[in-house]
Amino acid sequence: MINNFTVSGSPHIHKPESVSRIMWTVVISLIPAGIAGVIIFGLDALWVTLVAVAAAVLTELTFGILTKKKITILDGSAVITGILLAFNLPPQVPLWLPIVGAVFSIAIGKQVFGGLGQNIFNPALVGRVFLMASWPKYMTTFTPSFDAVTSATPLAALKEGKALEHISYLDLFLGKHGGCIGEVCILALLIGAVLLLIKGYISWHIPATYIFTTAIFTYIFGAAQLFHGDWLFHVLSGGLILGAFFMATDYVATPLTAKGQIIFGVGCGLLTAVIRIWGGYPEGVSYAILMMNAATPLIDRYTKNRIYGTK
């Protein structure tokens, strides 16, 4: 009550923005991709997503009670972590996998650093690379769900040197191919991304530089001959769009200034392309973003705006 009487200096502009409002908008922006995933892969995708969200929220609640801090499950950040983790899983995983992943995401990715706003890494990606290292068998098996969907992801097929003629760019754009739940339908992802950009909740710097760098790099080095790479294929396949718009733009784990964000985006793009072209894994988006998350404090340190007149 007393807080309401505290008077501070002008100007007094009120804006209805708050952390939970932004977080729930992000949740809404992810819904189209979720619906697309359910349409493409069937109800399995829905169960995986719901289970991951429930596990994430419950873990957050447990930690809140154990550490006797404010209970933060209503601000939507745990929900986002759950959704993003599920979107990075194949649709036919056993249901305990998203549970373990979500618990790990929230516990090791977020709570050990002190909770919301203090995590160094994107929690959902921490969970995903943990699952990837622990149960590669489940994380890379994409069983065909209905006739139009091929089993292997296009990137995995490319890595194994298989022919890719039967997948058109339109198929890639609409998501008619194997992959993780939330990453396949580029159209749905872009709808959500446009919402966030219009609202001003994310800026263009990271997504644009990230996608652009990956495109350029895969164009130059993506094929046996220089400057013959199929850059459009690399942009449309795998988790690049999901990663660039929804995971590389995490408020906490990315640089603050525009200059820093551009460095971050270029770094992510380079690492993604390098892992895709020469690495052992078919996809490098999660690793690239995590590595750049780790470098964020350093980037911030060297790109921070200095106060006028100081050194």
Partner: protein, 197 residues
């Protein structure tokens, strides 16, 4: 007599080299993939600790203070070489599993730390029990960590499957799993310490 028992037991709990002093973590993390490796590494380190503590406490009055560290290193390195050669001769499999971490015992902070902090100031028997206690404490810590990692990482302990249908968490057999286990264990022991005080 009571004194000697105290020197022995302090290394196991109160001054456990791994969990309390956080010394010698490099081999702890690197070889704790399986319990057998853990025991092997623990035994090798205990032998070196014991041998160097005894010799150093015997010659402590002859070593000039200024060059004591190089002297300690030579004594320790001798015992490490003995261990290395014995391992190579009698247990090539274990030797391969422990790899470069056997010669690296020579720069293990526990060994040099005990030499500098204890053996060069105390008599033979006290140094002997101090070295033994530290070695046993180190070995027990290794066994604890490697048991956790082996069970989670491969679903087995000492090569025997414990729970049927348990899907091993491969990551615990990898470097990052080792770092995670030691981080959480250190946190857990901190928690206990905070509770008590």
């Amino acid at each position: 007599m009571k004194d000697l028992v105290k020197e022995f037991t302090k290394g196991i709990i109160k001054e456990n080299p791994t969990f309390v002093l956080a010394l010698g973590l490099c081999p702890t993390l690197a070889v704790s993939v399986s319990v057998i490796n853990g025991i092997g590494m623990g035994a090798a380190a205990t032998f070196v600790l014991l041998g160097s503590s005894v010799i150093i406490s015997l010659v402590r009055n002859f070593i000039p203070g200024k060059i004591r560290i190089p002297c300690f290193i030579v004594i320790i390195a001798t015992f490490v070489t003995i261990t290395e050669l014995c391992l190579k001769a009698y247990s090539p499999v274990l030797n391969r599993a422990l790899g470069i971490y056997v010669p690296l015992i020579v720069v293990n902070c526990i060994v040099l730390g005990r030499a500098e902090a204890f053996a060069c100031k105390n008599n033979l028997w006290r140094s002997f029990f101090d070295g033994l206690g530290m070695g046993v404490g180190f070995t027990l810590a290794l066994i604890l960590i490697s048991a956790i990692r082996e069970f989670l990482g491969s679903g087995q302990i000492l090569g025997r499957t414990l729970i049927k249908g348990f899907e091993p968490v491969f990551v615990f057999g990898m470097p990052s799993g080792a770092l995670l286990v030691i981080g959480l264990l250190l946190g857990f022991f901190n928690l206990l310490k905070n509770r008590r005080s």
